[in-house]
């Protein structure tokens, strides 16, 4: 393994320090003393009966009696006690030597919890890494219908969540500590109950602007906890380089049967767009374009210019239609959920079912989810127990294309949302009859070939059905108190089918002379089946020898994943009544994927703590994966394949347990953490390490076989090295908690596309080369400001800075074209910088233009000067010619910092939660605006275009409109780059717990919430938060997909 020598030395120093500390600690003879104490509710100051108090090693356990008192045997080195009580947050308290009596205040679980639990590594607070947790008490009664929304609402800035769009269930792009990969998946690993969950990141939807989202198959009501794990993830090997989101579903708690029913209804308001020109303004704009278009047969002699009311087509061309209102809507959301929780001595279970229907704010777009889950814990004997979980979810969505397609040449504009912006406002959606009355029949496409968006919504089809079936069996055998064998077997079947139909009526025929395709209507369909199997068996040995606490874990994890997919499309069904694929269609195109991989991972982790003050975790994973090349560079050869090794070492020092901090009574808990670990990214195309032939089309139906790829047997995982130092502090009787983390993560062996030598006859290949780093600071604090019996206030804030930089690239700097723009990938620069032209306004006069003496080069090599009304581009390479050489960095899609601000108050049974999200310092490439303010096409434009340059001497920032923009005034420049910073009131929620006193009803809560109520931003687009792709190069590019909107929800929950 290539290990940074400096880091290695650092680690050695840390180990030496720990060993030294261990030595100097005098090993005193064991003196046991008895601790007595009471447990109280901090808000009411009342004693708590039946709270469980135990030493962290479980050697001594007590329950509080009727007067809230307990008595516990402590030894000199087992001085941490844990207090748990139903309805309260767990609290850990260190009992200093000599202290005989203690009063422990615990917080109701409506407060956030500093002392969290996670099963991923170990079930203990003895953690050397930071884990942020959101638990069910927070998750209940929420207005989110999918999990990523709740992840975004976690007040700690430990993950950057960017909602894909306003389409219901479309998911979010998530980054933990920056962009850890350049070309492969940069999304975190998702574990659901310990099982790797495929979030369908690598598969594309048929619908433009829509991203597939595996998480929409999980009901938020089923979630028990969400953990974000940023480091210490080595045992997940090459899957955890981007961090982990660990979800756990609700399980049977105890033998009392509880039935919970909850429901929610919501209202989502129609999004507000940039103002467009009205019918009159648009008419003038069109006439303007005609003036300078020599090839305007399309528009001349058209009827919109004839203002005679007697004219036959007058009515058809003299409307004031607000297309947006016809296409978008105010929409409804409804959700119902029932669960039963209970059991007997043998089995505990949680059974839940849910139904959700959420409409998007655009017509014919919604999501319906039906889900059922049965989780059980069965104890077969004292030693043998098992979990048995089964779940099934089906999500049906109605979809349509969103935004502007990136490859316009091959697409008809058929996104109703975008059409509603560009469509001529003087046209009518419905036909006029001969007697001049508007009929109910929709209009066809218009005189400039723009489709009728209503016809697409009415006659088109856009369906998606996604279903997930999961079966998990997890037996556990306890050989002794300290030795446990746990095995998990999971079978997961995911299927996805989509079909779309673009109608012929209402959409102009599409003719492409290059491809030869003449399309009247089009059918597309795809089926994806994925089967994931996981088996994870681990042996856990735990022992406490006096002051020494040892935990050793060893396991084998095996994953087999196979995806099979088929895709087909065809044109010209002959009638809009026929909307499915058939053999008779013309220009059929089919494709398929058959891709499987296997992954075998042997892992081990040893944790040692001394007196629970000094903690050290050492972990190692050995992994082989069918995606790795047979001669993987950094791999170790064994049994004929290459193995990757992922070591990690994490240490922590619980300073608050030290006697020298005795005087600082306000410190309840203080931990310093240091970590170094490796993990990886196995996002390697499975074909990379193979030489293979593929089938190609020779002419029409004749096919041939050709060498399509030559193997790179050296291909391997990307190596992510994480270095972290952090502090967790719990102060002032848990009233203030602080977390601070500094990290420096590097990714080596980036999977990059390299050019092949031309003698190979192929163009490029994937290889491991290049390096990038992410360093940053994360800080969060939480303060329980007021803890009165009837009035409680808690406030928190977080901020995260991440600085991303490419350290090396194999073939030097390059740019990638995205949506008519360019993104720079350059050494010593962050990823995702926009690279284009700088502008300095518009030439007001011909004189100014000729004085500047700037020109551009045509494709035939001619130089043409810029004139009055053209944009003044900066001639950064001063040669008088505006070309490639003048491009420069004009923006960065990554923010300088981001975070959340939260406030939670409770007055008696009334609770108010407020959460703000903010992002600062990122730029957005407003691609939608670049089309709506281009002045180069017949599309309707924003009203900002009223200010376009129209006459000599006019000073304006908006250039003249010219058909097809021969001078490139609308080229990718800082005109389209905007400040993407924002602060948003993400969620505000008021809930009321009815004081019920009934034998049948245990609890009754009603609540109301508003999402996205206010957003403060300079961004000119509708919504500064969007992500059209999980690809890091596509971040911050607004292609006009459905923006998020305000939603108002009310709900109620009944516990029986």
């Amino acid at each position: 393994m290539k290990m940074d020598k400096k880091i290695f030395n650092e680690l050695r120093r840390l180990l030496a320090f720990i060993a030294f500390t261990l030595l100097i600690m005098q090993v005193n003879a064991q003196v046991s003393d008895t601790l007595t104490g009471v447990v109280k509710d901090i808000t009411t100051k009342r004693i708590i009966v039946g709270a469980k108090v135990y030493t962290t090693d479980n050697s001594s356990v007590a329950m509080t009696n009727d007067s809230g008192a307990f008595s516990l045997k402590l030894s000199s080195f087992k001085r941490s006690i844990v207090v748990v009580a139903p309805g309260y947050n767990m609290r850990e308290v260190y009992v200093r030597k000599g202290l005989k009596n203690i009063s422990v205040n615990i917080y109701p679980d409506t407060y956030s919890n500093f002392y969290t639990k996670s099963l991923v590594l170990q079930e203990s607070t003895d953690k050397t890494t930071q884990i942020n947790n959101t638990n069910s008490s927070v998750l209940d009664n929420r207005n989110s219908i999918t999990v990523e929304n709740e992840i975004q609402k976690n007040p700690s800035a430990n993950i950057r969540v960017i909602q894909h769009s306003g389409v219901q269930g479309t998911g979010a792009t998530m980054f933990i500590r920056g962009y850890n990969s350049l070309n492969t998946n940069a999304q975190p690993l998702i574990l659901v109950d310990g099982v790797v969950y495929d979030n369908l990141n690598n598969w594309n939807s048929l619908f433009n602007g829509n991203l597939l989202n595996g998480l929409n198959c999980i009901d938020v009501n089923d979630i028990e906890s969400i953990n974000i794990i940023k480091d210490g993830v080595s045992i997940y090997g090459s899957k955890a380089g981007n961090g982990i989101i660990e979800l756990r579903t609700k399980r049977g708690k105890d033998m009392v049967t509880r039935i919970t029913a909850s429901t929610m209804v919501g209202y989502n308001s129609e999004p507000q767009f940039m103002p467009m020109m009205n019918a009159d303004q648009y008419k003038i704009y069109l006439s303007d374009l005609l003036d300078n278009n020599t090839n305007n047969n399309q528009v001349t002699n058209q009827y919109f210019l004839n203002d005679d009311p007697q004219f036959l087509y007058y009515k058809q061309y003299h409307n004031t239609t607000n297309w947006k209102n016809l296409v978008y809507r105010n929409s409804m959301t409804q959700s119902y959920h029932v669960s039963a929780n209970g059991g007997d001595e043998i089995a505990l279970y949680n059974l839940s079912m849910g139904f959700t229907n959420a409409q998007s704010t655009i017509n014919e777009n919604d999501m319906t989810r039906l889900n059922a889950r049965f989780n059980s814990n069965v104890s077969l004997s004292d030693k043998l127990s098992t979990k048995f979980d089964i779940s099934y979810t089906q999500v049906t969505r109605k979809l349509q294309n969103e935004g502007i397609a990136e490859l316009k040449d091959n697409n008809v504009i058929d996104a109703p949302g975008y059409l509603s912006l560009i469509k001529a406002p003087f046209l009518s959606p419905y036909q006029y009859s001969n007697d001049g009355n508007q009929s109910a029949k929709l209009e066809n496409y218009d005189f400039i070939g723009i489709a009728n968006p209503l016809a697409i919504q009415q006659y088109g089809v856009g369906n998606e059905i996604q279903s997930v079936f999961n079966l998990t069996v997890q037996p556990e055998y306890k050989f002794s108190k300290s030795l446990t064998l746990n095995s998990q077997f999971s079978y997961n079947f995911t299927s996805l089918s989509e079909n779309s139909f673009r109608p012929m009526y209402g959409v102009a025929p599409y003719i492409n002379s290059y491809t030869g395709i003449i399309s009247l209507n089009q059918v597309k369909t795809q089926f994806v089946n994925q089967i994931n199997m996981l088996s994870d068996t681990r042996l856990n040995w735990h022992k406490t020898y006096q002051k020494h606490n040892v935990n050793i874990l060893a396991g084998i994890r095996f994953i087999q994943s196979g995806i099979k997919a088929e895709y087909a499309s065809g044109h010209n069904t002959g009638s809009d009544e026929v909307k499915e694929m058939s053999s008779g269609l013309s220009f059929k195109s089919v494709g398929g994927i058959d891709d499987s991989y296997r992954d075998l991972n042997y892992y081990a982790q040893g944790s040692y703590s001394f007196q629970r003050k000094y903690l050290i975790d050492v972990a190692m994973a050995f992994e082989s994966n069918s995606r790795f090349g047979s001669q993987a560079k950094d791999g170790v050869s064994l049994f004929g394949v290459r193995w990757a090794a992922f070591p990690s070492i994490n240490g922590a020092w619980v300073l608050s347990s030290e006697d020298f901090l005795k005087s600082l009574d306000f410190i309840n808990y203080l931990k310093l953490r240091v970590g170094y670990g490796m993990s990886g990214n196995d996002g390697i195309e499975s074909t990379t390490s193979r030489t293979y032939l593929n089938v190609i089309k020779y002419y029409s139906n004749a096919v041939g076989l050709q060498i399509n790829n030559i193997a790179n047997p050296e291909i391997q995982w990307e190596t992510v090295t994480k270095r972290n130092i952090g502090i967790d502090a719990d102060l002032f009787d848990s009233k203030l908690s602080i977390g601070l983390d500094l990290y420096n993560n590097t990714t080596d062996n980036l999977i990059v596309l390299k050019s092949l030598k031309q003698v190979s006859g192929l163009i490029n290949y994937y290889s491991n080369d290049g390096k990038l780093e992410n360093k940053g600071v994360e800080f969060n604090f939480n303060s329980k400001l007021i803890t009165l019996p009837t009035f409680q206030v808690e406030a928190g804030a977080s901020i995260a800075f991440n600085s991303n930089k490419i350290l090396s690239l194999p073939d030097g700097d390059y740019t990638t074209s995205v949506f008519d723009g360019e993104v720079l990938t350059a050494i010593n620069q962050p990823i995702g910088q926009f690279y284009g032209y700088q502008t300095r306004g518009v030439f007001a006069t011909a004189e100014a233009a000729s004085a500047a003496n700037l020109s551009y080069r045509t494709s035939t090599g001619l130089l043409i000067p810029f004139t009055a009304g053209d944009v003044i581009f900066s001639d950064n390479y001063p040669d008088g010619v505006i070309d490639e050489k003048d491009k420069t960095v004009i923006g960065n899609s990554q923010p300088d910092f981001y975070g959340n601000i939260s406030l939670s108050t409770r007055y008696k049974q009334l609770k108010l939660d407020v959460l703000f999200n903010y992002v600062y310092g990122n730029e957005i490439y407003n691609y939608l605006r670049s089309q709506l303010e281009s002045g180069s096409s017949y599309y309707n434009q924003t009203s900002a275009m009223l200010n376009r340059w129209r006459s000599e001497g006019q000073t304006t920032e908006m250039p003249k409109s010219t058909f097809s923009d021969p001078k490139g005034n609308n080229r990718f420049s800082d005109r389209w780059i905007e400040d993407g910073s924002y602060i948003r009131l993400k969620n505000i929620q008021l809930s009321y717990e009815l004081p019920v006193n009934s034998t049948y009803i245990q609890g009754f809560t009603v609540w109301a919430a508003v999402s996205n109520l206010i957003t403060f931003t300079k961004y000119l687009g509708v919504d500064p938060e969007f992500s059209g792709s999980n690809n890091i190069l596509y971040q911050g590019i607004d292609s006009g997909i459905l923006p998020q909107s305000r939603s108002f929800n009310v709900g109620l929950k009944i516990n029986l």
């Binding site: 290059y514 069918s626 190979s760």
Partner: protein, 546 residues
């Protein structure tokens, strides 16, 4: 509940077993996708594998079509760019292509070569069915594709990295392969290809719209070309050069005889002595893909990208990126046309009618008066055809010291009558009669006429189309005939992609780079610059990143 639990104890045991048993490793991780064929899985030993692999190579060949034509013509003296042309085309025309250019990229050539290498190394030609070796034809066809592609590479770039073992992984692609010059390559290719000369081409019937017999190269023609080049670049003495030229002539003659390639009735001619109406059976050959007596090898491309690989040439034609050079127009115009009025009286006019089938100047609007290369209207690229084959034959025969025979090919056509006629074919040149001439003593060639007849009327009767008396020595005659052949190449095969290579070869025959330099320089404004520039043979080649 108990029953339920009992039921899945079995399952738990199974799960444990699966988890613990580790059936490592190599096979365990070796996944085969049904989407692709692994290179190791393909042994090419069934008819289907063979056909599909060959079609795969045909598809790669298609990708060379535009490079073949444009590199061959735009640098020559017959085709020029217009103001509408893309910058890349202009650069190619002005010899300023840089090594990042589309034309400098040799990937597509090596794609053909590597797929051929793969086929040749894997094809099991030992399989015999009823005493026949069914795949031997494919082997010959694939070897000729490879040889042709290597030849194109070396002629366009001056040198070539040569390998025969397929590159099947990245490290192979980074090896240093021997770099051959023209002479070395030609020798290598001849050695490789000669054993295949006797195999016939495969025939897959009609593939979409093209008769598959045209989709393969004629190995004998190719060997003729290789020998012609071998002789041209050979530094040997005249006698041994002559033997090589004869070898070339023999291969061309073999090709002609074996396939009965007869030059007759493919022409454009006036139908009256007033020269007001004409018939054309010549220009139609460029769009043909079936049933032609003229075609030998073509690259047949799809008319749109949905159906397959396409060529840009029709686009360039439609948008007037390219135009015939003034020199070519003049050459057409100065030809003498003979219309026989009776057996003794002829009517003369000026102008080779093949101009009509080659150049179109009838555009209006922006493109008015631009002489557009009509041959680019089609999705078919002609690689070899009968007219060109006869001219190559003539070129070889002339250099073999028989200018009279060579000239007869242009003027009369070779058949039993003309061979017997000492006015047509000088007796001294065919005594003793070499095999490559005697083969024309065959009834199949009875109607064969001279190539010049294709556009200039009955050239047999053309008193101005003769070897002039001023040619007193054999050398004079050879030079004169070669000049005539060079012009005939222009008249007959302009725009088809051969020009620059033809000029190179003739310069090499003469060991005089200025021959090419003069021809090309005269079409450029900056004539003296190009004269100097192209007199250096190193400048004949495109830069590349081989």
């Amino acid at each position: 509940m108990q029953l339920f639990i009992k039921k899945y104890i079995k399952l738990i045991v199974m799960v444990l077993a699966i988890s613990i048993v580790n059936t490592s490793c190599e096979d365990f991780f070796d996944f085969k996708s049904n989407q692709y064929m692994g290179a190791d899985e393909n042994t090419i030993n069934s008819a289907n594998d063979t056909v599909f692999s060959v079609i795969g190579i045909l598809t790669k060949m298609q990708k060379l079509s535009d490079k073949y034509v444009l590199i061959g013509e735009l640098r020559g003296d017959l085709l020029a760019t217009t103001a509408f042309a893309d910058e890349e085309l202009k650069k190619l025309n002005s010899f300023s292509t840089d090594n990042n250019s589309y034309f400098s990229d040799v990937t597509d050539y090596y794609a053909v070569i590597n797929n051929c290498n793969y086929f040749i190394s894997r094809a099991d030609t030992s399989i015999s069915v009823k005493g026949n070796k069914p795949f031997i034809k494919e082997l010959g066809a694939v070897k000729s594709f490879r040889a042709w592609t290597y030849l194109q590479l070396v002629l366009n770039f001056g040198k070539v990295a040569y390998y025969e073992t397929p590159i099947l992984n990245v490290s192979d692609s980074e090896k240093k392969y021997p770099v051959l010059n023209i002479a070395q390559l030609v020798d290598t290719l001849i050695k490789d290809l000669e054993p295949c000369a006797k195999y016939d081409m495969p025939n897959y019937g009609t593939i979409f719209t093209a008769d598959s017999k045209y989709l393969f190269l004629n190995t004998q023609c190719l060997l003729g070309d290789l020998y012609l080049w071998k002789a041209a670049v050979s530094e040997d003495n005249y006698l041994s050069q002559k033997t090589i030229y004869e070898k070339a002539a023999q291969y061309y003659a073999d090709a002609i005889v074996q396939k009965k390639f007869v030059n007759s009735n493919i022409d454009i001619k006036w139908t009256n002595s007033a020269f007001t109406s004409s018939v054309d059976s010549w220009s139609s050959l460029f769009g043909q893909t079936v049933g032609s007596n003229e075609l030998i090898s073509i690259l047949s491309l799809a008319s749109n990208s949905y159906s397959g690989n396409t060529t840009q040439l029709p686009y360039y034609y439609k948008n007037a990126h390219l135009a015939a050079s003034q020199k070519l127009i003049d050459l057409f115009d100065e030809q003498v046309y003979v219309y026989p009025l009776s057996s003794t009286v002829n009517s003369f006019t000026y102008g080779d009618l093949r101009k009509k089938g080659s150049v179109f100047s009838g555009s209006t609007g922006d493109f008015a008066d631009i002489p557009l290369p009509v041959k680019y209207r089609y999705n078919t690229i002609v690689l070899n055809r009968v007219g060109q084959l006869y001219l190559r034959y003539a070129e070889a025969v002339n250099r073999a010291g028989k200018p009279g025979v060579a000239f007869a090919v242009l003027k009369y056509g070779l058949n039993s009558t003309t061979i017997a006629d000492s006015k047509a074919v000088p007796t001294n040149e065919i005594t003793p009669m070499p095999a490559y001439v005697s083969v024309f003593n065959n009834a199949a060639f009875n109607l064969s006429t001279g190539i010049h007849t294709r556009g200039c009327g009955n050239s047999a009767l053309n008193t101005r189309f003769v070897i002039p008396l001023s040619c007193t020595t054999l050398n004079d005659s050879v030079t004169f005939v070669e000049n005539t052949i060079c012009d005939e190449y222009a008249l007959e095969t302009a725009f088809e992609g051969n020009r620059f290579q033809d000029l190179m070869r003739i310069s090499e025959h003469r060991n005089d780079p200025t021959y090419l330099a003069k021809k090309i320089a005269s079409t450029h404004q900056d004539e003296s610059y190009y004269l100097t520039f192209l007199s250096d043979k190193l400048n004949w080649y495109l830069p590349s990143k081989q």
